[in-house]
């Protein structure tokens, strides 16, 4: 069967939650109704990354990108585009504030500036069909490794590539594999960390939903190199679609003998079990994760002895992040030299000398183009936020970007030209982390944001060590005090002291990095803390106890003519005024929800 057109419908979690499967069904029904079923095929793929405009679909080979689809759009698209060949202008992507749409996906800036290695198959294959994955080169690297490379040669290649842990630690992967291999033992384990606990991060979820075989193949190659025959994927239970796709992929791989015994007839045995997380952020930490697989409570241990020597069930274990594993097949196929040509620095003599390859980020917050992106290391934050991200929403002003999830720090505008690089980000107090990137604008309160992230890490603290258990709790208490206007200068001093103490003495990286949002906001946005403490004022207009909404009487009467819309919408009934007369807000009753500010069409309401 040869089709002339493929409709690649995005079936990542975001689009599915917005009814993309119903759209797919409607497409198939319409295509049948029009008698096009032998010419046009509908394929569901993993996440395309441009989640802000889902549900979306790409028409190939035209390369036309359709966005924000509804079921009711489908009959029209089928008639206009598939039968008559006229792309539907209203459903194409139009950049914010512009009128002319950009029909081709390759021309849209969000996609054009990305470099796909890990996500190379996104939107192009049905991840539930292993043949499509093989058609795009899947398992070719495994074949190469099993026929023409010794385990030592594989390790050398990964070392030479400069691949570093994508879970955030940035540890040179080749060295980890080599160290693990050297430990004498009857059993070696390899583990894939798919816990992805960072709120708002979905790099690993997307990778597994779009191309699970890339991860499986990476693990196979790693297992061959290290001498392991048993692997685990530890995936959080909150990822049902990813779990489902992974299970299907494992089943199909086993069916083809790509997992199991005597793989590809080369006397190599390896299989993978799935272990599911149960909702604890701390289980993304390697020792807690292994404890969880063993059935023990998820608590980290001191790492005087690393897990590569004694890990899962005390055996040498190599744990890597989903993204790290997914890079391996491409490095084997295209060579370490190709990988080092992308990124920063020089890793010939120092494995920590640079950041090579690409990184997947989940871009969210106050940007226009929220979604999943993969960019070469070394790209500037400015380019990510303003070119790929399309700039700040609603024309507001950029204030800060947080990288690395709740453990990462905030980076202000003055440092926006920083290249994305493990060392560069750590130098300024933040970190690469697993790839979360949250953008804040002038309407965000930095104190409030630090409090938000700290409250997350505080809740997730396992409680084993005092610095984290007690320290983060007291830090949070101080931040609460500050945001309700009861903070003092002494509180700021104590907050900083506590933060440093928690960083230095916590048992694991959860406590070790939880104070980062606080420390970086204190460093770069101290004036906001001082405003809260000295003037009892919130410059970001967020902390409810510190803000006041006011109606400008002149604007209300002269422009709005006392339209009464604010009063009608106020949930606290705090606005007094008759229609056609001036309105005022009763500060005692006002709950600071901001609804009046949003609904006033004449900008008569201001917040201070």
């Amino acid at each position: 069967m040869v089709y002339r057109t493929y409709l690649m419908v995005c079936a990542g979690t975001g689009c599915v939650a917005n009814q993309s499967m119903k759209i797919k069904d409607k497409l198939e029904a319409e295509i049948h109704r029009r008698g096009l079923q032998d010419e046009v095929a509908v394929v569901t793929t993993g996440c395309n990354g441009f989640c802000a405009v889902g549900p979306l679909m790409v028409v190939q080979p035209d390369g036309i990108f359709y966005q924000l689809l509804k079921e009711t759009d489908i009959p029209y698209i089928v008639e206009e585009h598939l039968v008559k060949g006229r792309p539907v202008k209203e459903l194409l992507y139009t950049p914010p504030k512009e009128k002319v749409p950009i029909p081709k996906m390759s021309d849209i800036p969000f996609f054009a500036d990305q470099t796909l290695i890990v996500l190379r198959n996104r939107g192009l294959i049905n991840p539930e069909n292993i043949d499509e994955c093989i058609a795009r080169g899947g398992y070719e690297a495994l074949g190469k490794v099993l026929t023409s490379m010794t385990p030592e040669e594989v390790i050398e290649e990964i070392k030479a590539s400069g691949l570093r842990g994508r879970g955030g630690g940035g540890f040179p992967t080749g060295i980890k594999w080599e160290t693990c291999k050297k430990v004498p033992s009857d059993i070696h384990y390899v583990i894939c960390n798919a816990d992805e606990g960072d709120p708002g991060a979905f790099m690993d979820r997307s990778t597994i939903e779009s191309d699970p075989h890339a991860v499986i193949e990476g693990m196979l190659i790693g297992a061959y190199a290290i001498g392991s025959s048993e692997g685990y994927v530890y995936i959080r239970n909150e990822y049902p679609i990813a779990l489902d796709r992974l299970q299907t992929a494992l089943q199909q791989a086993r069916g083809y003998g790509l997992l199991g015994t005597n793989i590809l007839d080369k006397n190599f045995d390896f299989d993978i079990k799935i272990a599911r997380g149960a909702g604890a952020f701390v289980c993304g930490e390697s020792t807690a994760l292994m404890a969880s697989i063993e059935g023990r409570p998820g608590e980290p241990r001191a790492k005087y002895v690393h897990t590569v020597e004694r890990g899962l069930w005390d055996k040498p274990t190599c744990l890597n992040n989903v993204e790290t594993w997914a890079n391996v097949p491409q490095i084997i196929l295209k060579g370490a030299k190709w990988f080092t040509s992308i990124g920063t620095g020089d890793v010939t003599n120092d494995p920590w000398g640079g950041s090579k390859g690409t990184k997947v980020f989940s871009l969210s917050g106050k940007v226009n183009n929220t979604g999943l992106i993969e960019v070469p290391m070394g790209i500037s934050l400015r380019k990510i936020i303003f070119d790929i991200g399309g700039g700040i929403k609603d024309g507001r002003k950029f204030k800060a970007v947080q990288t690395g999830g709740p453990s990462g720090g905030f980076i202000p505008e003055s440092l926006l030209d920083l290249p994305v690089d493990y060392e560069e980000l750590t130098k300024v107090g933040s970190m690469m982390g697993s790839g979360g990137m949250v953008v804040a604008d002038e309407d965000n309160c930095m104190v409030d944001m630090a409090k938000y992230f700290l409250s997350f890490t505080q809740t997730e603290s396992c409680g084993k060590c005092v610095p984290c258990r007690e320290g983060t709790k007291r830090m949070l208490d101080i931040l609460e005090k500050i945001t309700v206007g009861e903070g003092t200068e002494d509180d700021l001093v104590l907050l900083e002291e506590l933060s440093n103490a928690v960083v230095e003495s916590s048992l694991c990286a959860l406590g070790g990095s939880a104070p980062n949002p606080v420390l970086t906001t204190l460093k770069y946005f101290r004036e906001e803390y001082e405003a809260h403490v000295r003037d009892k004022r919130c410059p970001g207009h967020s902390c409810r106890k510190l803000i006041t909404y006011k109606i400008d009487p002149q604007v209300c009467v002269e422009k709005g003519h006392g339209c009464h819309v604010c009063a009608k919408n106020c949930p606290d009934r705090a606005i007094i005024g008759e229609t056609k007369q001036v309105h005022t807000i009763d500060v005692a009753k006002c709950g600071k929800c901001g609804v009046c500010y949003d609904v006033c069409k004449f900008d008569a309401i201001s917040v201070e």
Partner: protein
Amino acid sequence: MSKLKIEDLAKIRDEARHKMALRQGAGRVRINVHMGTCGIAAGARGILTAVMKEIETRQLHDVIVTNSGCAGLCSQEPMMTVEVLGEPAPVKYVYLTAEKVRMVIESHVLNGKVAKELALAVGSEKTH
């Protein structure tokens, strides 16, 4: 499913080559069938079916087929435009029938010779 050997991986890749190339919009030859109302009324759907049939029977793995709206010259429909990678300009073929489609594919797509007697012109309209 049966256990794969390394040669089987290559086989699966080859068999799906055309499908994968299509999905990336990649192809050596691009045949665009014009299907505005005039085209459809003149029988463009039949032309499209003929093109698809040729591709299937001749196993043409490097040809992609698209359709577009009216090209402007309604009196000479059904029309199709053939673009070949490396050739300087697209070629428009007019007054098509299923038989002429076969001739164009054999002459132009497979042998690189523009089927002059069936062509209207070489090149595209200028757009500003």
